[in-house]
């Protein structure tokens, strides 16, 4: 696993936090707005009823004979009692003279033009709200201002405000809760396309260089475009280098064959032992190079074909049979015996050339590493839903703990000294099997005298 890039924190968390703090600010504002409105409303409704009360008293004021009289309607005060249980005070003045009521109520200072005035004051140790309205009457030809003040303590109002405070608090908290849940969901849903993209890219096989085709939000289009462009470039450059290797291998192999022929011709003519020895060494080196070139070509072919599998129905037993037939002469040179144990019913849907290539590489390895007079077993069998092809040799087996590493390119076992090979065989086999959605398993036999390579296909 490659090292993680430095992180600047989570977008989701940042988004959630920002949305939540927005919600918190709004909720707080909501609380205060509701509270203010409630307070204004409570105050204005108290003002209204005080005003109505004072007005109805004022309406009852009249000049009778040579005095101003006031006949307070019962409703003027009882209406105040209907709304709240507050204490009630009133005062009726005719000019500077007290007609009736509580003469020590506070004065409301107001301009001449204003027919009414409101005041919040303290009276007898309690907060009161007071309204005064006035009207001009004519008494013996003299203008006299009758002023009616009605006041009420503010317990009812305070109670209303307290109640509204609770309502405001609950609605603010409720708003915040809903908004917080929405914030989390929003953050999650806006980060989802990113996660989906990351998931789809990381789920891809190492060779999958197809462009990302799924729909993405417009903000992510540039990213995906760059990613696709980058992958296309990578793909081009990869195939270019594969082409180059294949080309190089091909170019090398043909002259090598000529050199080998020439070397053999020379070998026949030379008599001196040390010269013959040198030539044999030369031929061996040429063999190794040409085999490596061959495998490089195989590998290039495999790499190309795994991207474009040409699938058909293949009978694994037939395929194995054909291969064994082809390789028997080589095996007989080393006096090796190729034994087969084939289940004729094993069919898979895959690229015949690739699978053939993979199995041939494994058999090649087995033949190459085996001492003379040994046996190589090729089995084809059904393992549940899977079709299995297994090659077991008696060549001493894999060195422990290296089995995974062996499938990497150009890796060779420690026991490969003195054997011709490039180390690409198992890599090719593994890539082929995985391209078909199968698995390659490297094991040693139970007796420990050989290796067992299992290819299992779905």
């Amino acid at each position: 696993m490659s090292e993680l890039p430095p992180s600047t924190g989570s977008i989701r968390r940042r988004l959630t936090l920002q949305l939540m703090s927005g919600a918190a600010i709004l909720a707080t504002m909501l609380f205060f707005v509701v509270l203010n409105v409630a307070r204004d409303l409570a105050e204005s409704s108290q003002d209204n009823i005080l005003f109505a009360s004072a007005t109805s008293i004022l309406e009852s004021a009249a000049v009778q004979g040579d005095e101003v009289v006031v006949d307070i309607p019962y409703g003027a005060l009882s209406m105040l009692g209907n709304v709240s249980d507050d204490r009630v005070f009133y005062r009726v003045m005719a000019g500077p003279m007290l007609l009736t009521g509580y003469d020590n109520l506070p004065e409301i200072v107001r301009g001449r033009a204003e027919p009414s005035g409101f005041l919040t004051a303290s009276y007898g140790g309690e907060d009161i709200r007071m309204v005064e309205v006035s009207r001009r009457l004519s008494l013996n030809g003299q203008a006299v201002d009758v002023a009616v003040a009605v006041a009420q303590t503010r317990n009812g109002q305070a109670e209303t405000v307290a109640q509204m405070t609770r309502v405001a608090l609950f609605s603010g908290a409720g708003f915040f809760l809903v908004a917080a849940v929405m914030a989390v969901l929003t953050a999650q849903s806006s980060i989802r396309p990113l996660n989906r993209l990351a998931g789809s890219v990381s789920r891809r096989g190492p060779k999958d260089m197809r462009p990302v085709a799924g729909p993405v939000p417009s903000e992510m289009v540039p990213l995906v475009t760059s990613l696709n462009r980058f992958m296309a470039r990578l793909k081009t450059s990869l195939s270019r280098s594969e082409d180059f290797i294949a080309e190089a291998a091909h170019r090398v192999r043909t002259p090598l064959a000529t050199v080998r022929t020439q070397a053999e011709v020379v070998l026949r003519r030379v008599d001196r032992d040390e010269n013959r020895q040198s030539l044999r060494e030369m031929i061996r080196a040429i063999d190794e190079s040409s085999r490596a070139a061959g495998q490089l070509l195989d590998h290039a072919m495999v790499t190309f074909r795994t991207d474009h599998l040409e699938r058909e129905h293949i009978n694994l037993a037939d395929l194995a049979e054909e291969l064994v037939a082809r390789l028997t002469p080589v095996a007989e040179l080393k006096e090796l015996q190729l034994v087969t144990k084939l289940d004729a019913g094993c069919e898979i849907y895959g690229d015949a050339i690739l699978i053939q290539n993979a199995v041939r590489n494994i058999l090649d390895n087995a033949i190459k590493y085996s001492q003379t007079d040994r046996e190589i077993l090729l089995e084809v069998l059904k393992g549940g839903e899977r079709s299995i092809l297994r090659v077991t040799d008696q060549a001493g087996g894999f060195p422990d703990a290296l089995t995974t590493k062996l499938t990497e390119r150009f890796a060779r076992g420690v026991n490969s000294e003195g054997t011709v090979g490039s180390g690409l065989g198992l890599t090719i086999a593994k890539e082929v099997v995985e391209a078909h959605g199968g698995q390659l398993l490297l094991q040693n036999t139970d007796r420990g005298d050989g290796a067992c390579v299992t290819l299992s296909f779905p």
Binding site: V69, G81, V88, T100, D103, N155
Partner: protein
């Protein structure tokens, strides 16, 4: 503030000479009681004695000092003379409301106060502990051969058609003297137009004016008076000794219900005890449990038709209106004009 002090001082100076008049002072409970509740009340002491005894039985180390006064004197005692009491019990609802409104009362809230109906509790300061009906008391003897009237209109009709029989024999409260009478009259005037016609008819029959319900009840029982209007029915019905001599009628159109109320006075020395006594009153009045010592009729438990016509006078600032000096002067003037026919 200075204004306030000044007015109080002038009032005190003005009234210093005429102290409030005490009708009776009583003390209940053991002599070595450690705590004392001081009650100022307009109710006749006899009526409340059983309830007070019940309270003292439960609180043996407590004594009750009971001062009986008229409703006007109760006001004078507390507002003008600053007399020290823990509790004020009064049938003058308007004056009790005024005491509370003007800040002479203290708040009290308990399980017992929650039993009181809304109309019988004003801001947890004034608590009703009885409902008492404004009734018509008649002498059956005087009505011999006549239908006994069941409502105001019938009373008007019978008085009009037999002036010779009722001349000088109709009684009602003197509103200038009695707070209860004034309260009933003002509520009647608010409720029904027939009130003024009745007053005019009574005036034309040279009505006699009394200062108390008891005086009227006795006058009717002696046959001196044929009919008394706006008498406390609770008092009349309590007079078992007058059975057959009087008949008590609750007007079928509307029967005003006076509420006897208790307030805890600000500056009470035995606040907790006084609260306990209020709770005791309220529990006996409104509690589910029947308390035989409770002297008043429980109208709220009565589902009869007569009870349906009853209308409790609502506690609230509306009651302050008729206490207004101008309003009172005007009302009394109109009433006098009707009842005196001069």
């Amino acid at each position: 503030m200075r204004h306030l002090i000044f007015s109080i001082v002038t009032i005190c100076v003005g009234f210093a000479a005429q102290a409030f008049e005490i009708e009776g002072e009583y003390r209940f409970g053991s002599d070595d009681a450690r705590q004392e509740i001081r009650i100022i009340s307009t109710a006749d002491v006899e009526i409340l004695i059983p309830l007070m005894r019940l309270f003292l039985d439960a609180n043996p180390k407590v004594a009750i000092e009971y001062t009986s006064v008229s409703s006007g004197d109760l006001m004078t005692a507390i507002v003008d003379e600053g007399a020290q009491f823990d509790l004020a019990l009064s049938s003058a609802m308007d004056l009790q409301i005024k005491l509370a409104n003007d800040g002479f009362s203290a708040e009290h809230s308990s399980d017992a106060t929650k039993l009181v109906p809304d109309w019988g509790n004003w801001r947890n300061h004034v608590f009703a502990f009885s409902q008492e009906e404004a009734s018509i008391v008649v002498s059956p003897e005087a009505f011999e051969g006549l239908d006994i009237p069941r409502d105001r209109q019938a009373l008007i009709n019978v008085l009009r058609s037999h002036p010779e029989r009722f001349e000088g024999r109709v009684a009602t409260y003197d509103l200038a003297l009695s707070g209860t009478g004034y309260l009933f009259a003002t509520q009647d005037a608010r409720t029904t137009e027939t009130y003024w016609r009745l007053m005019e008819v009574m005036g034309s029959l040279d009505a006699r004016l009394f200062g108390s319900s008891n005086a009227m009840i006795e006058a009717v029982s002696r046959g001196e008076m044929a009919v008394a209007y706006n008498v406390l029915g609770s008092y009349a019905r309590a007079r078992k000794d007058l059975d057959g001599m009087i008949e008590v009628i609750d007007p079928a159109d509307v029967t005003s219900m006076m509420l006897r109320t208790a307030i805890l006075l600000k500056g009470a020395e035995e606040t907790e005890l006084a609260q306990g006594f209020i709770d005791h009153l309220l529990l006996s009045a409104w509690g589910a449990e029947d308390v035989p010592e409770y002297p008043f009729y429980k109208w709220h438990l009565d589902t009869s038709e007569a009870a349906a016509a009853t209308k409790p006078i609502r506690l609230g600032p509306g009651l302050l209106v008729f206490l207004d000096a101008q309003k009172r002067k005007r009302f009394l003037r109109e009433w006098s004009a009707a009842i005196r026919q001069e």
